[in-house]
Amino acid sequence: MISSEPDLRFPCRRSYDRDGNKITQTRGVLLQTGLKWAETVLNKSCLSLIQKYLKLCSRDRLHCYCLCLSTGKRDNMFPKGTKRKFSDSGEEPAVSGDEPAPAAAPSAAVRALTSAYSLQRQSLLDMSLIKLQLCHMLVEPNLCRSVLIANTVRQIQEEMTQDGTWQIMTQALAAAQCPTDRLVATEVLCRQTDAAAQAGQSPKPFSVVGLEEGYHAEEVVMEGDVETEVTMSTLSPVSPQLSSASYLAGTFGMGPCWEEDEDDDGECEEDEEEDSEECVSEGEEGDRDHLSADSRTGEQVFGTFEIKHPAPPPDPALEELFSDVDPSYYDLDTVLTGMQSAPKMGPYDLLESLSSHGPTALSSSSSCRSDLNELDHIMEIIVGS
């Protein structure tokens, strides 16, 4: 067995309940259940609590959002068995022969997208984006590694552009008219509640809309002007949006469901409830993801991983949430070379050691820590763990 498959699950937080008993639920699980709960209860105050929780998690350097959602999803990320063929053999995508020209009907591209190759490609894209994000959290931003991963992402994106999948997606996104300045996490949270409100019940899996209308692959990567409202990871301006949305997409190998109307004609590979939280639909409230209204070409799309300008957050709650984000992080030089100090460790070591290492000097203050502990406690009570 190839050793050291990184464990992307959250480290176990050893917190204690009122009776002093150890609670060993992972923060990721807490978060998931918290989100689910919030969406069912539609309780705004709880929602803000969760937001704050996430915020503190990020300050505590837990690269939480996308990763906590990934708890239990790892198997889907790197499918074994037949799906491995694409990367293992290093061959050209098997579907290339079947694909019509990129300008052809969306259905053809969609067909291509649902193939094993495209699933593999998607998971590779997600993995790469998460790596980019993780690498920003380290003491040593290895520029060579970042550049190589970024080039891989570009390559995938170029190929998707040629496939026509990119075009479809950007068109659909343009149609959705989403503003660019949104935070994924908040958005997801909001969507949860709204979606639930719509559905009226427990969250139902959102379809991958647009198998008919167009494939909504994750567009996160693309936006050149990704807004600076850093969601969860204040450390990495680029990323949380990228990775979380990308993760969302990648989990099922399908794009996130951006369409509001769920024509369930589309395939939906989500088979778990949890997926629904991740499969976000385009904002009902107008909270859109960082998709720009104007569609972007493939070349523009990969605006590297730079957040160009901090945009003023329209939502005062959001502003309060991210008031401590330092815009200086958005300088690319800083992004690529500037790290906050952290224990020196590799990307996955970071996660593994989080439970055992205390917060680093730079990242958390004691008050943050106590806040976090307190919130953890509250979360546990809320979710009835």
């Binding site: 050793s3 498959e5 990184p6 990367s87 290093g90 190589l148």
Partner: protein, 445 residues
């Protein structure tokens, strides 16, 4: 193929005697380098320490063995630092050590971490002056009025003491992380390379350096390639090479221009379109480049292979050796666990007839350029007892695994040999396996 043929022929050597095993319990070894005579072996570790081993003289009792390497000096070269401007910690890990040619009784070496290069002087002291007039033997000052007669201090032998003192500190010249340093053949200058720039220093001058290569794009968004290694030509002091993350090597001549952004020669092997994958670029990234001692060839290490280039031929290497081709089908997993970004080094032997590089599972590989034979050996306590002959290892790639073979899936990817060094004259090699140093030498019959 019997074992016997391996031990006799390949590559002229190492059927090895395991002669030194040094557990660095604390820290991972990050660089290994013999000096010009091979008498000293320097290692740097992640904790910023440098440990120098010295070759002991052969003992008269056992002339068939070469002498052993014992610890000669240990000192803390770099300390962890904090960059307040960027809120960055600067690791003290020693990235590279390069010896200077010896000019007097003292030894000099350059050691570097990510940001700062230091010139260290290692000197011996085996005599001590005794019989001072103004001081007692304890060091207390004597009352000058009590001194009635004068004496001349006499040098008395003392226990050997090896001192290391920093002679020069070359700092604040690199924005990005230094990955290479290389001493020029003029013995006056040296170059240091980080991800995007290469600087030329004079050993005597610490407050400035010349920038000779700068590949930083005006817009960092356009950055797609970084410098991964650089080295000065061993004979021509105006020539150096640097390798990139795209698998290219550029040879530059400093006489042509002050800024050597335009290369004199460009080495790149055209890509094989049939083996193209999303990982093609990553595995083509060159992790190490080394000139041969003759100066006619250079060797590059990418993820799966070692290539020998003739400096006169730019379009393809003259020799390619597969280090661990069985990993090609595992690239996705290796990308996932980041092993695909491991930077392996490579080295020539003294006569340029053999090359060596490391792999996973504490394996290292040696290739004989003349006979085209290769051998895989393992550096581990379990598999080699002191003074025992190393047993060749084999990784089974097919379905059938023979006895003594190891299957690809059971390789330990945490045990990687990134740093190896070959004695400049003798058949002695140093292999760093995580936090242990192994020194092997061939039998003298």
């Amino acid at each position: 193929m019997t074992k016997k043929s391996h031990t006799v022929n390949v590559p002229d050597l190492v059927s090895g005697i395991h002669s030194v095993f040094c557990p660095f319990s604390a820290d991972i070894i990050s660089t290994v380098e013999f000096n010009y005579s091979g008498d000293l072996l320097a290692t740097g570790d992640k904790g910023g320490r440098v440990v120098i081993f010295q070759h002991e003289q052969e003992s008269k009792n056992r002339p068939q063995l070469r002498g052993e390497y014992n610890v000669y000096s240990t000192f803390q070269s770099h300390e962890p630092e904090f960059d307040y401007l960027k809120s960055l910690e600067i690791e003290e890990k020693i990235n590279k050590i390069r010896w200077l040619p010896q000019q007097n009784a003292a030894h000099f070496l350059l050691s570097t971490n990510d940001k700062t290069i230091k010139l260290w002087k290692i000197s011996e002291r085996d005599k001590r002056a005794e019989g001072y007039n103004l001081k007692d033997e304890d060091g207390r000052l004597r009352d000058p009025f009590r001194i009635t007669s004068l004496r001349v201090p006499v040098l008395m032998p003392m226990d050997l003491m090896v001192e290391a003192s920093p002679r020069r500190i070359f700092a604040n010249a690199h924005t990005y992380h230094i990955n290479s340093i290389s001493v020029n053949s003029d013995h006056e200058t040296y170059l240091s390379a980080d991800d995007l720039r290469i600087n030329l220093w004079h050993l005597e001058i610490t407050d400035r350096s010349f920038n000779i290569v700068d590949i930083k794009p005006a817009n960092m968004e356009e950055l797609t390639e970084v410098i991964t290694a650089a080295e000065c030509h061993p004979l021509q002091c105006n020539v150096f090479v640097y390798s990139s993350s795209k698998g290219t090597i550029r040879l530059c001549d400093m006489r042509a221009a002050a800024l050597c952004d335009r290369h004199s020669k460009f080495f790149e092997e055209p890509e094989d379109p049939s083996s193209r994958s999303f990982f093609s670029e990553i595995i083509s990234s060159i992790s190490d480049v080394k000139f041969s001692h003759s100066g006619r060839y250079m060797m590059t290490r990418d993820y799966l292979s070692v290539k020998v280039w003739d400096l006169n031929m730019e379009n393809r290497p003259v020799e390619t050796y597969q280090v661990h081709e069985y990993l090609r089908s595992k690239l996705c997993s290796l990308y996932e666990n980041d092993c695909i970004f491991d930077k392996f080094e490579c080295c020539w032997n003294g006569s340029d007839s053999a090359i060596m590089t490391g792999s996973y599972n504490n394996f290292f590989r040696m290739f004989d350029r003349n006979t085209r034979r290769d051998i895989t050996l393992e550096a581990s306590r379990e598999s080699s007892k002191p003074r025992a002959t190393l047993k060749p290892r084999k990784v089974s790639t097919g379905g059938k695994r023979k006895k003594d073979e190891i299957s690809v899936d059971s390789l330990d990817f945490n045990k990687k040999i990134l740093h190896t060094a070959w004695h400049p004259k003798d058949n002695v090699i140093a292999v760093a396996a995580t936090n242990n140093l192994y020194i092997f030498q061939d039998k003298i019959n």
